[in-house]
Structure formats: structure tokens, C-alpha cells
Symmetry: C2
Subunit: 348 residues, 2 copies
DNA sequence: CTGAAAGCGCTAACAC
DNA sequence: GTGTTAGCGCTTTCAG
């Protein structure tokens, strides 16, 4: 069964206007070679019939869909949805539509159906906006080298031959740790994110390296691992204080876990920032309203997304024009340290 | 210019396997009328060539794309992204792809291009997941009655003749207010969301009605308006305490603003819940880790999304089979009150 | 069981 | 300037 299309087709418009479909096509695509009178007449019919060309048919013949595939995961978390927010904006501006796929888990192993679904719909490019977790970059090595469409990756370690756009998490970790040292804290612990996450490893490595550079301690008993959730932060801070009772500051790998640290301190009567300095990561909107307001590392995910879209469009354009394939390069953006009360020690 | 497709076409598979394209089509679509030997031979070629049928070409001929349009707004906020999360899951499960559009503002006035973009790509249905704000439902009245595809709306007031899926915000407001009364609070203020939002109006109306029902005060000086952000909550609570100094509880229209109330209390040395009961709305993941943990109204946005997808698929299916058009009905889900410390008065 | 022909809605390439 | 022809990749219809 083939239901009647509600929308008008180019053929109907053509016969209504008394011209060929080709002429209608020319008018729709604003080609120069149509006489003003014809153009106007056709235009009128188009408006009257509310004719809207089928992007589908167009994609088929032009081998170009003006559609980008976006693969994400964990949309209910703030990071991924901010990124997606940036992608939709940038794509909209460039006149591209977005085909969205969300992985059921961060480390989904079978990504073939995802690619199949996107490619069968002729996307012009794919933005892989799934954080690098565990071995979830593994499946890519077995992908046919030339998928047929360009891919740009967001939030993972730079890799040769791939287009990657990400925030410099290591730098963010250094900024956070250095700031605490500068404020006079010397026994600085760390609550890490889940260490199968690339971002968590980067932040932790920065903490360790910075402390060692300053000749301060950063051993096994000076950190604990969480899983990004406030609940895990609560467990981690408890464990950490047992292991490291004279700790005077903590760099926490995200704001949600930092919230648990603040609550822990409040319950134990530990003064922040006097007795304990705290720095988080992410700058979620609530952070400025924690008690006390939280110093944190801000990542501009919106901008990352914008750049990723720009990069992929650049590649698509150049492929389209048959130019030499654009060199795949990595772009790394610097985060910003937002200093609030939780880490600023009153001068003695 | 028409670049060579990287993927194999049905024609190539057919000639490789020495059969006609119809036969390949039959194998791909698992039709019964192919001999086992032919089927197997074709199957082999398909796998070897990694043939993947073009969903585009299929959509064109079948007048059905197995694609849903999703329109959202404010993705960086937790509510919309949770909803989207539910939609991607449900759509994925049903084998539908998602074409995503995000409005630049909640009250975007010109939605025609949005519809055009979706319809020109032949979506089978549209999920309108934009909260009802101000007059942003107005443009719909001027839409051609029969758009050609079904629409299901999320998060707005039920309307005759439309499919709407939403949480009962009024009920949520009643639950919150009644709970405070039950706990012995009698002078209960309200921090509302922006009142051009339908949800904010519902929550506020419930607060007012419930108090009046119990013979308690709910006048103009007993509430203040925020804009959902923690910053606005801070302003609102300050203003409210000036207007209503002997207030003993607050029902706050969302958790982020409630956070500001908790912080305000902390700074002024107001004991929660002893001197001030607080109930929020949304149950963001951080709420359980506020100080003290926040009582709040939980909305199951994930489920709302799931039901919306089910509804639209039902309509699509029935349209497709030429059955009588399904009645458009509204589905309203009840929220849940999550009781934590911020509202539980110790028994005297 | 299999294939040939037609066509979904549109545009590229060529006539005139 | 404008129309004709062909065909994007696939499925439907109908003949064999």
C-alpha cells in the first residue's frame, strides 16, 4: 500500500503552472536561466500549493544529504547534552539536519548497526560525541578504513590521522592543582572519576604530576576513585579522609562529586576553605550556589561542538569539490579556572 | 559533480551474484519466494560486498522513512535532555531513526522552517518536545490542519483533538504543599518558575489552591517569581523573606532554585527543616546530596518520552494500514514525592 | 520461483 | 530560456 503524499510534488506544480518539471526545479533552486515572467508565475503556484521539494529525492540524486549523523551517549548527563546543544546550533546555522543516535552504554561494543543506520540514510559525515571509555575506541580499528564519510571525534585523546576536538583535561587538572598550591595548601588529595574514562585519567595524571613537580606527595593513599555521581563522591571522600587524615585540600574530578565533599565537610564541621580547599571540574550551573560557592574548571563544551561541526563541514566540502583530502588534525581547547570561595584561603 | 558512492548498490550485488535486482531485494527483505540456493548465494555476495540497502531510496518508494522528527529546546537544561534520552531509547527499540531539531529559544515564533526541514525529509511523525511557554503554541493554530504527519506533544496542557503526553504538574504541586502542611508547617511560601511557563503556572496554582483549601494564606506577598536558575532563586528567596518574614516553609518550583534557598538559610543560620521546611521539584541527581538532602517532586520524563513514542507509532501504524484515524488523546502521568530531610520536622 | 518494466521525486546533461 | 531524456537506488506489479 502506498498512501497518497499530503505534499505537492514537482510534477503537480509543473502541470499547474504549465511548464516542465525542469523549470520548476530551476525556480526552486534559484537558477539564473529562467525568464522573469516564468519565474514569477511558477513562484506563485509554488506558494499557493505550499510546494516543498523533497530533500530525500534530492539527496538520492545529488549523492549528498546535507545531513550529519551524531552519535552520543549518556544524554541525561550534563556534559553530553551540552555538547549536543552546541552541535544542533552549529548544524542549524550551516543548514544541515541532524540524525541522532544514542548509545545505550558508554562502552557499547557493537557499533556496526549505528554506522549502518546512519550510512544507509546517506549522512554526509559523522560526529562521534561519545567520551572515550575503556576499550570503546577499539571497534574503530576494525572499521573499513574508508567508511565513505568523514568522522570527527569529540572528547578523546588525539590520534594520528583522525580529526579530534577536545578540551585539554590535563591542563585543566594542572590549573586546579596549581591553584591550590598557590593558595598555600600542601597536602592535596584527589577524588578521581572512573579511571576507565580518558578524561578521568588525564585529570588525575595532571594532579599527580603537578604535586610531584612541587615536591609534594601524590601517592596511592592520597586519592580515591568515584564514578562521577554525588553518591560515589560521598563514599570516596569518606575513604580518602581515612587514608589521608591530615589532607588540607582536594581536587575533585567533577562538580557533582565535589558537592558531596562540601556536604561531608559541613557535617563534620570542617571549615571550607580555611581547613579544606576544594576545587571541582565542569562548572555546572549549580556550582556557584553550593555552600560555599565552588571553585571549578570550566570546559566550553558548546565551543568544542561548534568547532567539531566546522571541521567536518570543511572536510565534506573539500571532498565534494574533489580537492586533495584535508589533513585530519586534532584541535585541543584550553579550559578556564573559575575561582570561587571554596579554594581561596583568607590571608593570615 | 556526482561522486562515486563508497557503498555497493543493489545493482552491483545483483550482477555479482548473477541475478536480477528484484531477487536481491527479496533476499534483503526476507521474502519467502526465493529458492534456498539462490538466497544463500546472494546472501554471501551481500556479506562479501558489505552491501547495505539505501534507506533513502526505500523511503522514497515506500513513502515511509521509519524516521521521526524530534523538536526540542533548551537541551542544556536537565529536563529536555532527559526527555530526549527517553525518546532516543524508545525510537531505537522500535527501529526508528531520529531527526533532531532544537529551537533557538523556547518561544521561537517562526516554526515553519522547522516543519519544512522535517517534512522535506519525509519524517513519519513529529514529537514536539518543547515546553509550553508564553504564546509558543499559537503558531500551531495557523498550521494546515492536516500536516500530513501526526504530531505528539510533550509537556503542555491537554488540548482537545491533540495527542499530548505530560506530567501532572498540578498534582505534583499539591503533593508538595500537602506534604508540608502534614508536617505541621502553616505559613508556606512559594518560589515560582517563570509564569509564562505552563508548568510554572500549574505548580503555583496547586500551591495556592491547596493552601486555601486548608484555610491557610496564599496571597500576593507569599510568593515570588524566579526563572528556574539558581541565581534567580537567590534573589527570590531574599525578596520573599522580606515580604513574608514569619514564613516557616517554602515550596520551590524547581531544585536548582531550592538550592539557593538552602544556601540562604545556611548563611542566615536558619535551621532546615526545624525553622524552615523546603520542598523542590524535579529531583535532579544532586538533590539527594544537598545540605540537608532535599525533598522534591520527581517527574519521570523518561517514561513520558517512551509513551510519546509509543503513541506516535500507534498513529503511524494505523494511518499506514488505512484504518480509521486514531482518536487523539492526552496521557497524563502522576509524579512522585521523594521525601528527604529538608521537609521532615522532628516530632516534638 | 524469477525477471522485466515502471516509477518514487527530483536534477544533470543535453537538446532545441 | 525551456523541454526532453535518463537515472539516483530501490520496490512494486505483473508476466513468465
Amino acid at each position: 500500500m502506498r498512501p497518497k503524499l499530503a505534499r505537492a510534488t514537482i510534477k503537480e506544480v509543473a502541470s499547474e503552472a504549465g511548464v516542465s518539471t525542469q523549470t520548476v526545479s530551476r525556480v526552486v533552486n534559484a537558477r539564473p536561466d529562467v525568464s522573469p515572467e516564468t519565474r514569477e508565475r511558477v513562484q506563485k503556484v509554488i506558494e499557493r500549493m505550499r510546494y516543498q521539494p523533497s530533500a530525500l529525492a534530492r539527496s538520492l540524486i545529488q549523492q549528498r544529504s546535507y545531513t550529519l549523523g551524531v552519535v552520543t551517549a549518556g544524554l541525561k548527563h550534563i556534559g553530553p547534552s551540552r555538547t549536543l546543544n552546541g552541535i544542533t546550533r552549529a548544524a542549524e546555522q550551516a543548514g544541515y539536519a541532524l540524525l541522532l543516535k544514542e548509545l545505550p552504554r558508554f562502552d557499547a561494543d557493537d557499533i556496526t548497526p549505528i554506522f549502518d543506520a546512519l550510512l544507509s540514510r546517506h549522512v554526509d559525515g559523522i560526529i562521534w560525541a561519545v567520551p572515550e571509555v575503556g576499550e570503546n575506541r577499539k571497534p574503530f580499528s576494525s572499521l573499513p578504513l574508508h567508511l565513505g564519510v568523514p568522522i570527527v571525534y569529540i572528547t578523546m585523546g588525539p590520534r594520528d590521522g583522525l580529526s579530534v576536538v577536545s578540551i585539554d583535561n590535563y591542563l585543566g587538572g594542572r590549573m586546579a592543582t596549581a591553584h591550590l598550591i598557590e593558595q598555600g595548601y600542601r597536602r592535596i588529595g584527589h577524588i578521581a572519576g572512573p579511571l576507565d574514562w580518558w578524561e578521568a585519567r588525564q585529570r588525575m595524571a595532571a594532579w599527580k604530576d603537578t604535586l610531584q613537580q612541587f615536591g609534594l606527595e601524590a601517592g596511592d593513599r592520597h586519592w580515591a576513585e568515584g564514578n562521577w555521581s554525588p553518591a560515589s563522591g560521598a563514599q570516596a571522600v569518606e575513604k580518602l579522609f581515612k587514608q589521608y587524615p591530615d589532607m588540607d585540600a582536594i581536587f575533585v574530578a567533577n562538580d557533582q562529586m565535589a558537592l558531596s565533599v562540601l556536604q561531608f565537610a559541613c557535617q563534620r564541621g570542617i571549615q571550607i576553605p580555611e581547613e579544606l580547599g576544594v576545587v571541582g571540574f565542569d562548572d555546572i550551573p549549580e556550582s556557584a550556589f553550593f555552600f560555599p560557592p565552588l571553585t571549578t574548571v570550566q570546559q566550553d563544551q558548546y565551543n568544542v561542538a561548534r568547532i567539531a561541526v566546522e571541521e567536518i563541514l570543511k572536510i565534506i566540502e573539500s571532498d565534494w569539490h574533489g580537492e586533495a583530502t584535508i589533513e585530519r588534525k586534532s584541535v585541543t581547547l584550553a579550559p578556564t579556572l573559575v575561582v570561587r570561595e571554596s579554594s581561596v584561603r583568607p590571608r593570615k
